[in-house]
Assembly symmetry: C2
Homo-oligomer: 358 residues x 2
């Protein structure tokens, strides 16, 4: 019976291998930006720490996808995998503007950081300045991400095939984000809508895309393996997202890097809130409703929301669902690869997705 | 002696060839977005008209770059060239958020269009909703742009090489935009800073990038030709940008698609405003200063700014500079290609850049 230890240490080892690379990558990029001007260079420099604090799950999956498809060039795939970390940190910058988030990965969000720079420059509307520069930053991050893939040194054909996967899935992520913004704004949703957002914005993108991206760079061209990778990846993405939603209510700020109960404060519809709305008592539903999207809720309110979710069965329901996905993902592993070492990592990593506290 | 007629009709013919393609491209993309949800599909649909109203200078330059490098697959290069029009319309959506523009290409800017959708959905903060969805739209446009290049059917090597050029130049565009936002905000600048912004944000991007992008898709690998293309493209980009700055003050709304004197109202630093600041009388400088970044200036104020620019020599200075770039570009044409037909188009198109009224 696998636990998440091997997955956790695999991820840790990926972080160690990429950390120095990310830092030296940005040194080069900051120098290039400096040729255009100081402020572009400063803005990129401010971003490095945020990128470094990423969990790097997607980047690590790229290396696994590559290896399960028979790839053997370790250094090259690690370099290429940074493409997805650049994109991911970038798209979160835009997300944070839309969600008006102030904290990300334990740091002020980029638009808040640039707002502060704007204040130092004595700019009249520093908030607008901060948002503008954060929009620019993510735009730059997207194109840095493409550069990283194009310059990765794999065969032209494999690069183009990986790029097609990357573009297709990101396009659906953005459509999912459009839906998410709309759902949040109208504060009225259904299970179908929630699942749709989560599918495109989270599960496919987090689990399937990076594995296929990495596999493409190893030239994977086997429909049976591809199907198994998609099955594993989708289950992985769901397990990841379910634990993310759980941590959005039950996570602790010092570990999770976001304020306690952040999802509730933002009014984010998740499977947890949906279950309360469908199965809670009138009182429970009303209290949750009062808290959803309410920026002024206290720590006590969050603790009470947790209690409600435990009492009405929402927590157990969602928690069990997450573990069902873990089992489903594990059941696909044998078809994904014959390599026992990679099988073990895949099985343990999906378990770790539900065990992680950050 | 060339005039701009041939260039103008070349551009018109490119627009005719691409118009139906853009419409059918978006029909497919709207159907795909609709699989995720109605709102993503609606948001993409709202964007089509804005893309169609583009001048398509950059797309047309891609086809010229391709032909001057010996490419012969007309249909394929036209399809691929749409990549840059998708990007360009997208980056303008982000620009318009930063500049708080309300009109673009004679239509409400995308964030204003989505703000209106938000009002119809009875969303509380419709302005924030509009900005959020416009951020998403451009993100989608970038990845649609990459898809278009990757699926263009050229050789994998040529696609990767074109992609590297595309990513490199766009990254500098974004750095230029960061500087532009900062310069605008601090309202204090120098000729060097203005030229730097214009170089990266406009001249290189508009002139050099699309020509090299197209040439890469024809496998161009000749340093002498590449150097000549860069020389022509840079001159082209400067001529384009100078006329753009002239139209930003002297253009008429019905033709230019932006409110009269838009650049002054936004406080945009250009070579025209810089010349007044350097060579105008105290009174002229003070009047311009009063108008710069002042949203409340009247039509009469704009007319007076025009008069000042004419009187103090700013208009003539900048206009002549534009024509110098035209001459410089024309002088590079013979080294760019031996094909006389393309030579004629290149010579006429750069003239048209300074003759155009929109």
């Amino acid at each position: 019976m696998e636990n998440g230890e091997l997955g956790k240490s695999f991820l840790k080892s990926y972080i160690q291998k990429t950390d120095g690379k990310i830092v030296s990558y940005f040194e080069k990029k900051i120098a290039e930006a400096n040729q255009v001007g100081e402020i572009p260079a400063q803005n990129i420099a401010a971003y490095v720490e945020t990128v470094r604090r990423g969990k790097r799950i997607r980047g690590s999956l790229i290396t696994l996808g590559y290896k399960l498809a028979g790839g053997t060039e370790e250094e090259k795939i690690i370099d290429a995998s940074i493409a997805i970390e650049l994109f991911h940190a970038g798209v979160l910058v835009h997300d944070d503007i839309m969600d008006r988030d102030h904290i990300r990965r334990g740091l002020p969000t980029m638009h808040k950081q640039y707002e502060k720079s704007g204040e130092e420059l004595e700019i009249k509307d520093a908030a607008h300045y901060g948002v503008s520069q954060a929009i620019n930053l993510a735009d730059a991050a997207y194109y840095m991400s493409w550069q990283t893939l194009l310059e990765s040194g794999f065969s032209y054909e494999d690069i183009v095939n990986a790029g097609k996967i990357y573009a297709d899935y990101v396009l659906r992520v953005v459509h999912g984000q459009v839906l998410d913004v709309a759902n949040l704004a109208v504060r009225q949703t259904t299970e179908e809508k929630i699942l749709n957002v989560l599918k495109y914005k989270a599960a496919e993108y987090t689990g399937v895309m990076p594995l296929l991206f990495g596999a493409a760079l190893a030239g994977l061209n086997d429909k049976k393996v591809t199907d198994a990778v998609i099955r594993y990846g989708l289950a992985f993405g769901w397990a990841f997202q379910i634990q993310d939603d759980i941590l959005g209510v039950f996570g602790e700020e010092e570990e999770f890097g976001k304020p306690i109960g952040n999802d509730v404060r933002e009014g984010k519809n998740t499977l947890l809130t949906l279950y309360v709305q469908q199965h809670g008592t009138k009182e429970q539903r009303e209290f949750l409703d009062h808290c959803m999207g309410n920026e002024k809720i206290s720590r006590e309110d969050v603790l009470k929301v947790r209690e409600i979710m435990k009492d009405c069965g929402s927590y157990d329901h969602v928690f069990n669902l997450g573990w069902q996905y873990v089992e489903e993902g594990k059941s696909a592993v044998a078809e994904v690869t014959d390599n026992e070492e990679i099988q073990k990592i895949l099985r343990s990593l999906i378990v770790y997705m539900m065990e992680r506290v950050k």
